[in-house]
């Protein structure tokens, strides 16, 4: 981080909502007329109470050479607007940005691809639009084609491509950009899982290269954690906090992920469910280990469930518990044995032991199945919780990988103290 590449000072962006179309000529005229009278159209619009939003409010930050910065926030928090302003696609209402170096912005892949033209033509067209010179593309051409894996269709118009091929070719061009500053908005959310992995690896490689500065927006927290040195959290257009990526991501997840440990319905009529299953209570009871009410990896969790049950004819029942990580991956699927029950209130329990789940955010869904195969009811995402990290006797602070962190013993002993024989 030797020198500053971008300095953003007090950027705000104001959008007027609605009022598109017919009245525009008259409106423009009256705005112009007022602007002659030194009254700004903006002040006027807000005083008239017209619908408007500040997509960004007084955002300032600095980016040093070689830094990889992530922006985190909900949809509509202003992340994309910010990247668009830095890419010069839209103009700020207030503030200024100064910087050095060539910028390439990847707000989508395949910008400017022409359906009628061949893959070869489009590599050049798209590459030039992203700021590459002819010589740069010539020297990278084989690498681009190789990465995309579409060499046999290079002289076919891209409208004949499958959507997968199209995306691969488009990303291949983008992945070989060599600007000083790269701006990336959520482009990794395209393509199949395998290709996404390939893209992530390439992104990591690109951002690790000498002095490449990257601004990155994604909802993929793992990608952000992997790639970014620093991150900023945006909320309703305001930059609320910035700092090390890991800490910012944890904070964002904690703020956005409310612990949801209990649901209780005294009346069957108002309870979620159907004719056969009505939920009375579902609850996750943590056995807190310390004085703080914090669920960490040492905390055992008792799941309790009560429901009204009316069997559909002659049948038995299985209750299954699905635990998911925030990414959507299922961590485990455990179920009760097949049990024949009469109509009435039923209680179900399950214990998730301490020192089993790794730190992270999880949610639980509960499935009710009769006669092994017939799904009676799926109580989706009914509980959510977060497990905090806890480490003793270790000097390593990186992310502990995996969804589970069981307390298995791993042994290590010397077999032959004298040599390698």
């Amino acid at each position: 981080m030797s020198q500053l590449m971008i300095k953003v000072e007090g950027i705000s962006k104001y959008y007027r909502l609605g009022t598109q179309g017919s009245g525009r000529l008259r409106e423009d005229w009256s705005n112009w007329w007022k602007s002659v009278g030194r009254k700004s159209a903006r002040a006027d619009a807000s005083s008239r109470g017209e619908a408007h939003i500040w997509a960004l409010k007084d955002v300032s930050f600095e980016v040093g050479e070689g830094e990889v910065i992530g922006f985190i926030g909900k949809n509509g928090a202003g992340k994309s607007t910010l990247l668009k302003i830095i890419s010069r696609i839209t103009q700020p209402t207030q503030g200024r940005i100064r910087g050095r170096g060539r910028i390439a912005s990847l707000l989508e892949v395949g910008t400017g691809f022409h359906q009628e033209l061949t893959g070869r033509e489009n590599i050049y067209l798209n590459g030039h639009m992203l700021g590459m010179t002819r010589r740069e593309i010539d020297s990278q051409f084989d690498a681009i084609v190789d990465f995309s894996g579409v060499e046999t269709f290079l002289d076919t118009p891209v409208k004949r491509y499958s959507s997968g091929m199209y995306v691969r070719l488009a990303f291949a061009v983008a992945a070989h950009l060599t600007p000083e500053i790269l701006i990336v908005d959520e482009v990794l959310s395209v393509g199949d899982a395998e290709f996404q992995q390939k893209c992530l690896r390439k992104m990591k490689e690109v951002s690790g290269q000498e002095g490449r500065t990257v601004l990155f927006v994604s909802h993929n927290m793992q990608a952000l954690r992997n790639l970014c040195h620093r991150a900023y959290i945006l909320e309703h257009g305001v930059l609320v906090e910035g700092g090390p990526a890991d800490r910012m991501i944890a904070r964002y997840l904690r703020d956005s992920q409310v612990h949801f440990l209990r649901q209780f319905y005294p009346e069957p009529a108002l309870a979620p469910g159907n004719d056969h299953i009505r939920i009375k209570r579902v609850e996750l009871i943590p056995a807190y280990s310390g004085a703080e009410e914090l669920i960490d990896i040492r905390t055992a969790l008792q799941l309790e469930l009560e429901f009204w049950y009316e069997p559909p004819g002659v049948s038995d029942l299985i209750v299954g518990i699905h635990l998911f990580a925030l990414t959507g991956d299922c961590v485990f699927d455990v179920s009760s044995s097949r049990t024949t029950l009469d109509k009435g209130l039923v209680k179900c329990g399950c214990r998730i032991p301490a020192n089993f789940l790794n730190d992270g955010s999880y949610y639980i869904s509960i499935v009710f199945v009769s006669n092994t195969t017939h799904r009676l009811f799926y109580f989706e995402s009914c509980l959510a919780f977060e497990v905090a990290d806890y480490r003793e006797h270790t000097s390593w602070y990186g992310k502990w990988i995996g969804y589970v962190r069981p307390d298995f013993k791993v042994t290590l002993e010397a077999l032959n103290p004298d040599g390698y024989v």
Binding site: Q91, P92, G101, I103, T111, M129, T133
Partner: protein, 282 residues
């Protein structure tokens, strides 16, 4: 982090009427030529006759005029063989009107690209004019072929020194189309109704320009009014240099030449002033 004050670029909310940034265009010459190439390649995909349409379209129009204005209505061609007379008018007018209609929807037709990536926006209208220029050159070749045939038959005079000025006339016609197109491109993005009226106005404009009649018909009390249309002196200049005619109304030629530069400057200023803000609307 050492604070340096040597910034290479700056983004601020001010509007700039005279910050044209034309100096940035040479850096993007690869993209410019690629856009021209795209325009020429993509337009004739999946057509049977392909690029022959560049020649076929003016030839068919020429024959149509010859039938209607040459034999039925009998409009004077001022002693010039009708076929070359019509063709000269048609290729000049088409060049202008293709430049104009190709550039006046710049923001609407490119909103998907302009919303995602930055490059000097002027490249797009410029590439349209250059691609039309290539078509114009092909059509000019056809024109001179026809001219040659009439010359051998002794119907038209030999080429004079005036021919050297033809490229200037063609350049001026293209710049005029570009200038008007740039002015309109901002307006079409803001006021969609213009779509319909512009088609109509463009047709009226053609009738007000000496495409299938000689400019000398524009005399009398209101004739001077039509001479104020820069296309009148421009098309007339083409014919004057081509057919070695005598020039009257010299003042109008200079006025037209100046008007083109003024319109072009206004067009660039207006375009640059709005090129970013228009994006929030389209």
């Amino acid at each position: 982090m050492a604070e340096i004050e040597e910034w290479e670029w700056e983004i601020d909310p001010r509007y700039h009427w005279f910050k044209w940034e034309l100096g940035a265009i040479p850096q993007y010459k690869d993209l410019l030529f690629r856009l021209v190439r795209r325009d020429l390649l993509a337009n004739y995909q999946q057509t049977i006759l392909g690029p022959f349409w560049i020649l076929l379209q003016p030839v068919l129009t020429m024959l149509l005029y010859w039938v209607i204005f040459g034999t039925i209505v009998k409009v004077s061609t001022n002693g010039i063989p009708p076929l070359v007379f019509y063709l000269s008018g048609i290729i000049c007018w088409n060049f202008f009107s293709d430049c104009l209609s190709g550039t006046m929807y710049t923001f609407i037709h490119n909103s998907a690209v302009f919303g995602k990536v930055w490059f000097p926006r002027l490249l797009v209208p410029l590439s349209v004019v250059l691609a039309q220029g290539v078509r114009m050159l092909v059509q000019l070749a056809l024109f001179f072929l026809l001219y040659g045939i009439f010359y051998v038959r002794g119907d038209v005079p030999a080429s004079g020194i005036g021919w050297l000025l033809l490229p200037v006339v063609v350049l001026w016609i293209g710049l005029f189309g570009l200038g008007v197109g740039l002015l309109l491109s901002v307006l079409t993005a803001r006021y969609r109704d213009l779509d319909y009226s512009l088609q109509f106005i463009l047709r009226l404009w053609m009738f007000a320009s000496p495409v299938f009649y000689p400019a000398q018909l524009l005399s009398g009390k209101y004739g001077f009014f039509l001479w104020l249309n820069p296309m009148t002196p421009l098309i007339e200049a083409f014919r004057v240099f081509c057919f070695r005619r005598e020039v009257d109304h010299v003042g109008y030629f200079w006025a037209a030449g100046g008007a083109v530069l003024v319109v072009l400057a206004m067009g660039i200023a207006f375009f640059k002033r709005h090129e970013v803000s228009v994006n929030d609307i389209v």
